[in-house]
Every structure is written in C-alpha cells, then in structure tokens.
C-alpha cells in the first residue's frame, strides 16, 4: 500500500518535471524566434523598408507569450519574421530597380 503510494507520487513528480521541461523548451524556442524576427525587422528598418504591421505583430507575440499562449505567440512571430524577410528582399531589389522607373 505504502509502496504503491510512493510510486504514484514519483510518477506525478516525473510528469510535472516533463511538463516543466517542455514548457521551458517552448519558451526558449519562442525567445529565439522572437529575437531573430526582431533582428530582421531592425534590418528592414535600417534599409528604410519596414512594413506597417511587423512591429505590431512582434508586440502582439510578446503579449501572447506573457499569457502563456505560446501557440499564438509562435504564429505571430512567424508572420513578423516573414514580413521582415520580404521587406529586406524588397529593399535589396529596389537598390537598382528604382532607376529603371525614372521619367526620361
């Protein structure tokens, strides 16, 4: 009887530790992706090419993460990263392309 109780307690402890590790891992992964998206947003801004919503998406991602809604946070941060990457590509393309539009 006493041994079964001890086993159940051990099992609960193990489950709790597993959940904590998973949550911490997600949070760390979120932070990594957030930092990367923010770095790309900043690069787009330095090229005068930041899109309208990118900063707001990152702010919303942080809010979602602070509510422990990591699924939503990940989706938002991915949208921000995608926008920032597109903005950087746009700036690189426009470095030469603008000249072809000059009225002559």
């Amino acid at each position: 009887m006493g041994r079964a109780l001890a086993n159940r307690r051990s099992l609960r402890r193990l489950m709790l530790i597993t959940v904590l590790i998973a949550l911490t891992g997600c949070a760390t992964e979120f932070e990594r992706r957030f930092d990367e998206a923010e770095r790309l947003r900043s690069e787009a801004a330095a090229a005068d090419s930041e899109w309208l919503e990118t900063g707001d998406l990152l702010a919303q991602a942080q809010q979602a993460a602070s509510r422990d809604d990591l699924d939503a946070a990940m989706v938002l941060v991915e949208r921000a990263r995608f926008q920032a990457e597109m903005a950087i590509k746009q700036a690189a393309r426009e470095a030469d392309a603008w000249a072809g539009r000059v009225v002559k």
Partner: protein, 283 residues
C-alpha cells in the same frame, strides 16, 4: 560558335545598358524636371502647365467644380488668421519670428526647402521656424501642432502668386546627394503592397483609385498645408507623405525625418516654375 559569339557580345551590351540606365537615373535636377513636365504635358495635353499647381482639380473637372465652390468659403481661412496673429506676436524676449529669416513676406515660404551647407541637411520651413524658437529660448513646436500648421498656412497664403524656385546648387555635392536621395525614395517600391510613390502619381496619374483620381507629381508641394474635408482639419505636406506610406502598408517615418525632408526637396524642385498656392482644400 555563333552562340558563343552572341554570349560574348551580350556581356558588353548588358554593361552598356546598365550604364545607360544609371546615367538616366543620375540625370541632373533640371533634366529631371524638364522630363517630368514633358511627360505630364504629353499625358494631359489640354492642361496648361500652371494648372498642375491645382493637383487633381486640374485633371478632374467634376472634382474641380466642387473644389471651386469650397473655395468660396475657404475652410483654411481660420488657420491663416491664427497664423497671422502668431507670426506678428513677439516671443517672450521681444524677438519676432520674422527677425530670424533673411527674406521678408511674401518670400519666406519660397526660401524652403533649401540645402544648408553648415548642417549638410535639407531645411524645411517647419525646421526653420523651430530653429528660430530654439535660438530664442522657446521650446520647438510639434510639427503637426495647430500652431505650426497655422504659421505655415499664413506664410503659404502670403506667398501666393510667387513662383516655386528651389535650388540644388552645383557647387554643393551634399545638396545633389539630398536631392538624389529624395528622388530614389520617390521611385522605390515599398510596403506590403509593393508600391512606389511614382506608381500612383506618375504611371497612374489621372486614373481612378476607388472613388478618387490620382494627382500628377508636379504641383504636389505648392498648396500645403491643406484642409482635408475627410479629416475635418489641416495637415502638413509631410503628414500627407506619412498617409501615402501607410496606404501602401509600409511603416511611416517621423515627420521631418531626413527621408521626408529629402523627398520634399526633390518634389519641390519638380514643381519649380509653378506658383505657390497654399493653403489648399482637398477632399
């Protein structure tokens, strides 16, 4: 063999083409302006050059008749009156704003934008007003504050009938660099919608965008600040820039940022020869 020859010939050909594009892009300000005028006069052959100062009201006759009725009781009149009072009111140390300017009315509006050699930057009317206040120990005005709008509305009103004559001095490389930066901004696509200013106001000038028609580039800077009916208030030229940037879903820049001042420099040069006709009224 033939293919190899064609490939070999294509390389210098591509280089020549690239250099030609670059040469065209780097044409001087006056060549740019003349090309603009010729372009818009060929697009709108029935519109006299001086009418481009009226923006879309030069192109759209229905909108023009509505605008002329609005001008019977101009909604910007109160701003002009308030601006006149502010202009003629001494600062606490007794200095008048007018004392800070080399020119006198009605020519103060026409002095800007200009390139300042000392700072290496484009100076706009708003910046010059704030510089004057700072020199006289007064806090600068917010660029879209009613005081700033009122002052610029008054100076624009006084300048009516004088001609836009923005200079890009040949002997100041910084001035040409600022002009080129504004030009590049104007032709560069940006934002989620991937639009350049020129896509709307050059390529598509006169076309409909939902219920509105797009104005031509020349004349864009002559009539600001404007009273916008849809906002129920006055806005500055650079606030309008920010609106366009937002419309293409790009993040707007700060008012009086280097980007907007250089853009104002380029666009104002494109309006050289037209009359200053601000403040204006727009939908």
């Amino acid at each position: 063999m033939n293919l190899r020859i064609r490939k070999a010939a294509a390389v210098p050909g591509a280089i020549v083409a690239a250099l030609l594009v670059q040469q065209i892009a780097l044409a001087g300000p006056e060549e740019d302006r003349l090309a603009f005028v010729a372009y818009f006069q060929s697009r709108f052959p029935d519109i006299p050059f001086e009418q481009f100062a009226n923006g879309i009201y030069a192109i759209d006759s229905d909108a023009r008749s509505q605008w002329l009725e609005i001008e019977e009781f101009p909604p910007y009149e109160f701003a002009v009156e308030r601006g006149k009072e502010l202009w003629h009111k001494a600062l606490p140390n007794g200095t008048m704003l007018a004392d800070c300017f080399a020119a006198q009315l009605p020519d103060i509006r026409g002095q800007f934008p200009s390139f300042d050699v000392a700072s290496g930057e484009v100076i706009t009317l708003e910046l010059a007003i704030n510089d004057c206040r700072i020199e006289n120990n007064q806090p600068p005005l917010e660029y879209d504050s009613s005081e700033m709008i009122d002052l610029t509305a008054y100076l624009a009103f006084e300048a009516r009938g004088t001609k836009v004559d923005v200079r890009v001095p040949d002997d100041q490389p910084g001035a040409l660099a600022a002009y080129e930066s504004g030009k590049r901004f104007y032709y560069s696509k940006r934002g989620q919608l991937n639009f350049a200013c020129a896509d709307c106001h050059v390529t598509s000038a006169g076309q409909w965008v939902r219920a509105d028609r797009l104005s031509a580039t020349i004349g864009h800077t002559t009539h600001f600040p404007v009273y916008r009916s849809k906002l129920g208030g006055m806005i500055s030229l650079q606030k309008r820039f920010a609106g366009c940037i937002r419309d293409v879903r790009a993040k707007p820049f700060e008012l009086q940022s280097t980007q907007y001042r250089n853009l104002e420099y380029f666009l104002s040069y494109m309006s050289n020869g037209l009359e200053w006709n601000g403040p204006g009224a727009r939908k």
